[in-house]
Subunit: 321 residues, 2 copies
């Protein structure tokens, strides 16, 4: 990798991450669905991270980050702010490693995700749903506990961990023309892009994002990091801003960021439930939503899609709202 390339995990570091986390995570299946292929006129391979431990790809990055700590660091615990799946993943993997996760969560977090963090043994401190309140509250927690902060995405160990999902996808399906992932903070997307860059350089990486939270699209287009302000989308995992580490990787390696309407997200989510028989949360349905909207360049292609998570609230399904 040339010296002008932004700081990023090397192929060796991604392989090490994969080796490190393998005893703890699921090797998730890659599913196909002819009915959906016919509908979107493309050939899709879905990497089912919704079937991952804690119901999301976040188990990969969190496990890599926690298992990379030395015993002295581990003893004091780990801490983070997260709207949901990273919080669950960190709580789960911290307990498995014999330590404690301190979780700062906004008060408007999805109930299912809050309950899950508690069940996995995470210690929750609630804060206002603003980036400022999250950061202030987290700093207080860090000072009080001496815990190590594990940022949900702006962390090279996290990025390396998230890359391993695409490593497995490319092992299973070698000739993908495109890999698609949703983009929130960019941990999954930057990891996906790195894995393709190293292992299948001919494969283009295309991200998808809700129009109501299109900070990544705008940042990508204007080549400057624009924070997410008042995001308005059902895809609660994608409301965050890109990070100083994830954005440069995305700028360097991602081909395109597509934006999609809320109605398409709900339609794509329902399609995955009804036809592929898997539970996905709204964020995970965003790449398929882009296919349903018929964006140019996707038709007829062999496309891998990372289904990022499955932590949906069964009592509040979007098609019943």
């Amino acid at each position: 990798m040339s010296t002008s390339f932004p700081p990023a995990p090397s192929l060796h570091e991604i392989k090490e991450a994969h080796h490190r986390i393998l005893p703890f995570i699921h090797r998730t299946p890659v599913l196909t669905c002819q009915g959906i292929n016919r509908l979107v006129k493309a050939e899709l391979w879905f990497k089912c991270e919704n079937l991952q431990k804690v119901g999301a790809f976040k188990a990969r990055g969190a496990t890599n980050a926690v298992r990379s700590l030395d015993s002295g660091q581990l003893r004091k615990g780990v801490a983070t702010h997260s709207s949901g799946n990273h919080a669950q993943a960190l709580s789960w993997t911290a307990r498995l490693a014999g330590t404690t996760a301190h979780i700062v969560m906004p008060t408007n977090s999805n109930r299912v995700k809050v309950d899950a963090v508690k069940e996995y043994g995470g210690l929750i401190t609630f804060c206002e749903p603003t980036l400022e309140s999250r950061e202030t509250t987290l700093n207080t927690v860090l000072q009080e506990t001496g815990a190590v902060e594990i940022h949900p995405y702006n962390n090279l160990k996290i990025i390396a961990g998230q890359a391993t999902s695409t490593v497995e996808l490319l092992q299973e399906k070698k000739d993908l023309e495109i890999v698609m992932a949703p983009v929130g903070g960019g941990g999954l997307l930057s990891g996906t892009a790195l894995a393709c860059h190293y292992l299948s350089p001919g494969t283009r990486v295309i991200a998808a994002e809700p129009t109501g939270a299109d900070d990544a699209y705008r940042s990508f287009t204007q080549r400057t990091l624009i924070p997410s302000v008042d995001p308005d989308t059902i895809a609660d995992g994608l409301r965050t801003s890109l990070g100083s580490l994830t954005f440069p990787i995305i700028l360097a390696l991602v081909t395109q960021i597509l934006t999609v309407q809320e109605e398409s997200i709900v339609l794509a989510m329902r399609l995955l439930w009804e036809r592929m028989k898997v539970i996905v949360e709204p964020s995970a349905a965003v790449p398929l939503a882009a296919l349903l909207e018929g964006h140019a360049g996707l038709r007829g292609k062999r496309i891998g899609i990372i289904l990022s998570g499955g932590n949906a609230d069964l009592d509040h399904l979007p098609w019943n709202l």
Copy 2:
């Protein structure tokens, strides 16, 4: 196999069936869930036939039956009466084989299943929801079309096909103490029992059935085939009676049939959705319901469970009724 054994597919015929259907079906994943294991205090491996083509194990048997016909038979089409998943499976596999499926369905069939049959190209004739009306209507269809009847379960090719799910499960997980399956007409259960008998004779087969449709339990206990009369259960795939071919195999090879309450079925279904992130229909949740009810002999065991299907109606979820 001794001469006193009832008519049943041989191991060779089951292996032939597997070879015959492999190009057309999914090799479905086997999933595990630590959260569910902790809850029921057993180690479970779920064979996900809900992720099978047409969303149910029925794709296996129907494909084996249709692909075993000669070209003259195939030309005239196939026909069946079915409350749902077999109808979808036969329609799907008939079209794939270049022929037509004539489907007799009761008027009270699940809407999702009726729509799916139409989408797969099946030609539906509706009848009253009684066994008599089904059979009379089917006979008319058979006379008019010259089609070959493919019974949903009382057919050795169907039984051999359904056995292949357990063949794959046992390939993946060799030391199961118990395999569990739901029982309706007994096609899946007899196939499951045969596969264990041939390939893992130390593995016991335990069936589960709704208390509101406990004809298999009563038949098994009294060792005489008692038809299902006015079954009352949410598990719409399990309302049928055992058949003259499936019942003797079940009597010979199944260890036990457990009955479960409706509330346990709904709880188990929701648990699989919420924790394992897969869509299952009520029938598929019946074995886990038996575990939730704490039936003796299951605790602490290594248990394979066939998740039979995923064709749930997303607009009428049982926890919203």
